[in-house]
């Protein structure tokens, strides 16, 4: 009794969620664009659609779980073909490891680049606040902010310098010597600007001081830009990236291409079977196929000058008509089934309703 009740509740919940999930997209489609914009649906549509994608992405864990369960058991109990399963699991772990390492490396480098970019932005913010003191927030005293900027600037410049030296020590790791020397020039320029900032009294900054600060901001932005190019170039030759490239581009993509190449062989085999003229229909198909093939090549025009036009007609008229008929039929059937799914009109609900 309790089980029946809980099943009924579960079924009702599923129906409610299915209906609510569907009604949003239904309304978005049914309402005119002006109405959708007026009630604010348009503004949030992308976020809501992304939310549905995120929920769908959670199912990826199910696939992973299934692979580990099915193939793990085969390896553990050494069932037939266990070594294939072992290869699959090793491949899976290697790819997860390589991708994670590459992701972590990218994350760290992006953080470094951002930390340099923020140097210039910080300087500009100080200048803007000095020109137009903010009324909506409290800012620390001007001198204190510049002092923090100088400390942070020295720290970042040292970091960039050490990273650039590492790149040079490792044979520039793909970053060309021109780029490296450019970064070094910018380091020197930024360091000089920091030195200038230290000599100015920031208690009551004048236009000259603010102009120096603006120049520092521009130099810091240029430094960040050059550093970012060197860093990305360095990343492209890092070990995690090399391992990832080897596994994904070198192995996975190539194997996929090999599978795709098999299609050529299979099409030939399928064509041989299809072109055996045993019935009137297969005879017609054979004739149509020969015309299309001859119309496609320049030799066809030598046989009969209108061959390409006949080919075009075959593809655009009878072939398109058949394709449209299939698409229309499938579309109508899909529409009916979609309505049924959305309203949860199931065979079971139907029979229970009849009871």
């Amino acid at each position: 009794m309790v089980t029946t009740q809980s099943t009924d509740t579960r079924t009702k919940l599923i129906r409610i969620f299915t209906f609510l999930g569907g009604i949003y997209f239904f309304l978005y489609f049914v309402l005119p664009e002006s109405a959708v914009t007026a009630i604010g649906m348009k503004a949030h549509h992308e976020q809501i659609s992304n939310g549905f994608i995120v929920i769908g992405a959670m199912a990826l864990g199910l696939g992973l779980y299934n692979i580990v369960r099915a193939h793990g058991a085969r390896v553990v109990f050494q069932r037939s073909g266990w070594f294939n399963s072992l290869a699959l699991l090793v491949g899976l772990l290697a790819m997860i490891g390589a991708t994670s390492a590459q992701w972590i490396e990218n994350l760290r480098n992006t953080k470094d680049i951002l930390s340099v970019q923020v140097l210039g932005e910080f300087a500009m913010r100080i200048v803007e606040d000095a020109k137009n003191p903010p009324t909506d927030r409290v800012v620390p005293p001007f001198a204190e902010r510049v002092s923090a900027l100088v400390r942070y600037g020295e720290d970042r410049v040292s970091l960039i310098e050490s990273h650039t030296n590492v790149s040079v020590a490792a044979g520039t790791n793909g970053a060309s010597s021109v780029l490296v020397s450019e970064v070094r020039d910018r380091i020197a320029a930024t360091r000089a600007k920091i030195g200038e900032l230290k000599t100015i009294s920031w208690a009551q900054p004048g236009d000259e001081a603010l102009s120096r600060l603006t120049q520092f901001s521009q130099d810091a932005a240029k430094l960040a830009s050059s550093y970012s190019i060197v860093k990305r170039s360095h990343d492209a030759h890092s070990t995690p990236q090399k391992v990832y490239d080897f596994l994904f581009d070198g192995l996975f993509n190539q194997l996929g291409s090999a599978m795709f190449a098999l299609l050529g062989v299979y099409i030939a085999a399928a064509a041989y079977r299809a072109f055996r003229v045993r019935t009137i229909e297969s005879g017609l198909m054979m004739i149509a196929a020969v015309i299309v093939m001859l119309g496609q090549i320049s030799f066809g025009k030598e046989i009969y000058e209108h061959m390409p036009s006949i080919r075009q007609w075959l593809l655009e008229v009878p072939n398109s008509a058949a394709f449209r008929a299939i698409r229309l039929g499938a579309g109508v059937a899909g529409l009916m089934l979609a309505i049924r799914m959305w309203l949860s009109i199931e065979s079971k609900s139907f029979s229970s309703g009849r009871k």
Partner: protein, 270 residues
């Protein structure tokens, strides 16, 4: 009208008519009306193919390939349910290779329910639902390997397919499996016709489940589809007549069905 983001008044009318037709057919089915379904040889072959596996002692393979959650998958699940019931009755090994992890959860539930329906719930093997890969050609290569290792007696390929269709069908052909395919992708239908014993084309995929189960709701939906297709056929006929008349009376262009269906809300200003 591809890329239609918001409905036009004409399409809204069609949608309301579609809902009305579906409601009417469901009511008729509820009242005990018996809808006739013509024979579909490809669907009749489903039972024969499973029976062949029982005779040969070879497993049954059913794949929905690249089909994601949606009406097509829903139609495929109806056929999968029927195949799984037969496999359970004949105590056959059923393998359902998967491409989409989202669809896998529904597939697993469908097969489990089919086994329970025939009183063989304990025989259901969750390892039969195999996630191969979410990558098209990795899935195809996994499927090929599986067909060769398991020497399937029958292979059912239902759903949406792309370039991998021929790879899958050839794998079945190589191991001598009886193959039934059904696709809503017109480009792949030709490949299936060349390599499979039976091919269901387009909407026949949606009819297969109703044909196999004979459940009133499914049959009523099938009948509603046919009524709506008749309406579209009528619209096409009207379009042909108006397009011909247009040669003499250019003004009729405004009444062409595609013009009326694609007119947006601003044209209702009158």
């Amino acid at each position: 009208m591809s890329g239609l983001e918001h409905i036009t008044p004409g399409i809204l009318v069609i949608l309301v008519i579609a809902c009305g037709i579906l409601y009417r057919e469901l009511k008729r089915a509820q009242g005990g009306y018996h809808h006739f379904i013509r024979r579909i040889p490809g669907v009749d072959a489903v039972e024969g193919a499973v029976g062949r596996c029982a005779e040969l002692g070879r497993p049954v393979v059913f794949t929905t390939a690249l089909t994601d959650i949606g009406p097509v998958l829903y139609a495929c699940l109806g056929v999968l349910h029927a195949v799984a019931r037969k496999a359970a009755q004949y105590k056959l090994k059923l393998i359902v290779p998967q491409y989409s992890p989202e669809a896998m959860a529904l597939v697993e539930d469908t097969v489990r329910e089919a086994y329970r329906d025939v009183g063989r719930g304990s025989s259901f093997d969750p390892d039969g639902i195999k996630f191969l890969s979410g990558e098209q050609f990795a899935f195809a290569s996994g499927y090929m390997g599986l067909m060769h290792r398991e020497k399937a007696g029958a292979a059912f390929m239902f759903g949406a397919f792309a370039a991998e269709a021929l790879v899958l069908a050839e794998a079945g052909q190589q191991v001598g499996a009886r193959q039934v395919a059904a696709s809503v992708s017109p480009e792949q239908v030709a490949f299936f016709i060349c390599t499979c014993d039976y091919t269901l084309i387009g909407e026949e995929l949606f009819g297969a489940s109703a044909y196999l189960s004979r459940e009133p709701v499914q049959v009523a939906t099938l009948a509603a589809q046919d009524r709506l297709k008749l309406l579209f056929l009528g619209l096409i006929g009207v379009g042909v007549v108006l397009a011909t008349l247009q040669a003499w009376y250019p003004g009729v262009a405004a009444w062409m069905p595609h013009t009326l269906l694609s007119a947006d809300w601003s044209s209702l200003a009158w």
